[in-house]
Amino acid sequence: MQLHPRYFGRNLRDNLVSKLMKDVEGTCSGRHGFVVAVTGIENIGKGLIRDGTGFVTFPVKYQCVVFRPFKGEILEAVVTMVNKMGFFAEAGPVQIFVSNHLIPDDMEFQSGDMPNYTTSDGSVKIQKDSEVRLKIIGTRVDATEIFCIGTIKDDFLGVINDPTTV
């Protein structure tokens, strides 16, 4: 954690902690997943003054809640975009794509100003902001990004809650 000298003083430690939380929360590491929230500071080491500038570097050990999706996991997600190739949904920080061949066969794509997937009798509709329960079938982990593929074709998956009826 690098700190500008203007923060030195009585509140050094608090400044440091808040800066940490600001920087780290919301980021993602491939190994651990998304950092959701910092829960506690374990240890702050001695600061090292950088040559040339006045910045000081502190090694900080902290605990936090992380979120990492796994293959086979069941998640609830909110639909963000519907496409004829499938739909995109978000479960917190992670984005999941469900391709149309993993959508049950009885649901058809309907384009329009509000593109959606709907059953032949119109009873179930998947559109933007619908909540769906899906199963992760694959994750792709880059250095700083995690992306998932999901399916709603299995039992007990699919729309939980229709925004139009709510």
Binding site: M81, F97, S99, I137, I149, T151
Partner: protein, 468 residues
Amino acid sequence: MIEPYNKLVKLAARAFYDDLTSKGDNQPKTGRSDNRGIAVVVLDALTRRQWVREEDLAKDLKLHTKQLRRTLRFFEEEKIITRDHRRETAKGAKIYSAAVAATADATTGKEGEEKVKLHTHSYCCLDYAQIYDVVRYRLHRMKHKLKDELENKNTIQQYICPNCGKRYTAFDAPRLLSRNGEDFDCESCDGKLDVESDKLAAQEGGDGDGDENARRRRREKLKDMLQKMEVQLKPLIDQLGRVKDLPVPEFGSLQAWEARASAAGRAANGDNAGDSKSHLGYNGAPMPYSGDTKVVVDFNGTEGKGEGVKSETDSTSLKVLPPWMITSGMNLTKEQRGEVKQETKMDGTSTSTAAQYTDEKKSTIGHDDKNIQDEYIKAYYAALLKKQHELEEAAKNPQDANAADDPSSSTSIRKVGDKYKRKEDDDGTEWEEAPARGNGIGAYKVDLNVEADAPAEDDEDDIDWEEG
């Protein structure tokens, strides 16, 4: 013990490899020269052999070495056979000469007058334990793939660009999203991506309304395929079940097998000259009297050599039984002999394993053979003694040559005579190894013809041997 496994191999070969061709990819495949299914032939041949040199196998199957190698390489990759490559001298690569060659290898490979030229010989053998596993895995994967496609579960969609052919998976989806958010664009050429459908169930034409039918048809097709697969593979699966509880036939590495086989040969013949013969037959260009074999005037040694020689000579004249072979007396052995000869004939001209099998068969035929052989020897030497007497009485010239033989033969007779004296019976049983024995007892190649002539001149009722 090994038969169920061999059956498994044969079934698997016919199920999975019957359209394999050994032609290279860039060779024209004409109707005339199409040799699809050669893989089955090769595997079948391997079920009848243990460790076999690839050149010998090629000769037996009348295949080009290169084609055979290509097929064997494919099987090695499929983990069905194991191969071993060894550097050996071309001429009769026996174990000890291989050892010699190994040391000679350290020196420049030429030692003294002998040129020890080392060629790399390749051997192959079926690997039964792996075959069992490989076949099971293959079946499992096939079923799994069909079932997955059938239920359409957990498959990650693939996309392909029609313009540039670039492929993407669903993982690339966010990257590929086009500006209008409606479809996926190719990264390089901005063409609209097509969905790549399941390979097994080709998409039937007619989307939209036909889509429902198309999907149903696909399901039906997949179900059909699964059904057909189960029905057609049932014998293979049954064989797998039968084989499951049996101990796997294990031949071990090439060295171990050779050691064991030569030990078995030794046990059968009671002498390592016999072993060297069988081994010779296996490894080298089958030359019965390869250079450095010792002149073992032993009874057993000559018998060993005789077997090999006999198999070679008899393979050319199978139908005609040797005239000296008495029909009475040992009928059993004669038939056995006939069978054994058939065996060697069927396996091709003097293949190593033929010699091996005959050796092993002979050992299994049993110790009654030993007795028969002993009795034969007595008869033979009785005749030989008689012949010697006749020769001594006959003219000088032909006798010179024979005289040369006589000392050696007399010594041998003296040696074997002991055995002869030991047992009293003499029922005049003949043996097919007579000529070989005669040859062995005499001196070597040079004298061969002479000795062969000599008996022909004599009036031998009992023993008339062919030209050895």
